[in-house]
């Protein structure tokens, strides 16, 4: 087969909803796009542990602490599923970690915002994990098999994350006026960054068209963002909190809620590394990796020693 017919038969498979597996032919650009997307996704899970780890020792009860620990452990697991999926495309774990640690690879901008009160644990679980689920559910049917299988596993585990966050918000919203204010403040601060998690507007998103054609993505950034706004408004009402954006209004004609334009300058500024916590997050991550070096070396040395003993 010529290059052209390889690509035509690849697109035909995609159009027929046949999953692509690691050893199958795929265009270089498809491979590159997937490596970028899956590794960014993995990095987001790993860096995403940091803002929440910040509150584990200060959780207000043993129940909340156990739940938060379990959630953060899940995020670590999700990172591993995704790194494994990316490795099937021919990049090594070390290469990906190197890209993360040198700042060459991106992770979700949301994790560059600080977690300053306990209510932020509620808002993150509810809004940030909620937005992630909205993104991830369609990815369970993405065209690359290992990625789709990893996402099925992730989605199964993710729904408790959102519920525990909403429960935290609910307790605070029904609590003292000060607690309710804390919940409102967290909602107000996390609302716009959570909406930005869906990525830039379709009109300026450089990768959307190709990713849709290859069925890596099933819905555009704007479609998912709108869907998230529509379901979340109702959840805010049930909490009894004020809407975080005065321009949220039901639009009968569109059948959706309207809302304010997001501050895209802020978005690009955080993507470029100038968010409130970019440097701190990366430094913490690099320190964890370097502090763990002796553990990795010791485990390798121990495995080697046992191997030689067995051989003798």
């Amino acid at each position: 087969m010529t290059q052209v017919s390889f690509e035509a038969s690849f697109q035909k498979k995609i159009d027929e909803e046949i999953m692509i597996e690691p050893q199958d032919y795929m265009p270089d650009e498809y491979r590159k796009t997937l490596i970028r997307q899956i590794s960014q996704h993995a990095h987001s899970e790993i860096v995403g542990m940091l803002p929440e780890a910040n509150w584990i020792t200060r959780a207000p009860s043993l129940r909340r602490k156990a739940v938060l620990l379990a959630k953060v452990q899940d995020e670590g697991g999700h990172g591993l599923y995704l790194y494994s999926a990316a490795e099937t495309l021919g990049i090594t774990r070390d290469q990906m970690l190197h890209q993360l640690h040198t700042g060459a690879a991106k992770y979700s901008s949301i994790f560059n915002y600080p977690t300053i009160t306990w209510a932020d644990m509620g808002a993150i679980g509810w809004l940030v994990d909620g937005a992630a689920i909205m993104n991830q559910v369609p990815l369970c049917r993405t065209s690359y098999g290992p990625y789709a299988r990893a996402m099925v596993r992730v989605c199964k585990e993710e729904s408790f994350h959102q519920r525990q966050g909403y429960e935290i918000m609910l307790s605070l919203a029904k609590g003292t006026p000060v607690q309710k204010q804390m919940a409102q403040d967290a909602l107000n601060r996390w609302w716009a960054p959570a909406l930005m998690m869906f990525g830039p507007l379709d009109a300026v998103s450089p990768n959307t068209a190709k990713s849709m054609e290859w069925r890596i993505k099933r819905f555009t950034n704007d479609e998912l963002r709108q869907r998230f706004i529509d379901v979340t408004v109702e959840q805010i009402r049930i909490l009894g909190l004020e809407l975080p954006d005065a321009n949220i209004k039901w639009n009968e004609e569109r059948g959706h809620y309207d809302s304010s334009e997001l501050n895209w300058d802020e978005f690009w500024n955080v993507v470029k590394g100038n968010g409130p916590c970019n440097k701190e997050r990366l430094a913490t991550r690099v320190k964890a990796w370097e502090d763990g070096a002796w553990v990795r070396e010791a485990a390798s040395a121990y495995a080697e020693k046992r191997k030689t003993k067995k051989a003798a």
């Binding site: 050893q23 591993l80 494994s84 070390d94 990893a150 070396e297 485990a299």
Partner: protein, 97 residues
């Protein structure tokens, strides 16, 4: 900082979800040795009681059929519909078989 070439080997993880079922491929992970692979597999793949038994095998030991030859390789089964029970015409009044 990067630990090039010192990566722990890759292992494939298979999990039996309950007695009587096959071990099924769950995913992969890096570990220094088999013991560590099994313990990590427990932490990564069975946090919600998904398994009662784990197998791990180093990925390099797995051999696979070639996807490019799949059409020819699986061709012998293509035209043998008589291997399926629905191939046989039996009278309608025959209720149990």
């Amino acid at each position: 900082m990067s630990n090039e070439n010192k990566e722990w080997p890759l292992w494939e993880v298979f999990i039996r979800s309950k007695a009587g079922l096959d071990h099924k491929h769950a995913g992969s992970l890096h570990a220094a040795d088999a013991q560590m692979a099994i313990e990590s597999a427990r932490d990564v793949y069975t946090r919600r009681m998904e398994g009662i038994s784990i197998w791990v095998v180093e990925s390099k030991h797995i051999h696979a059929s070639n996807p490019e030859e799949a059409a020819a390789f699986f061709d012998p089964a293509q035209d043998k519909i008589y291997r399926h029970p629905t191939f046989y015409n039996l009278p309608d009044e025959l209720k149990h078989m």
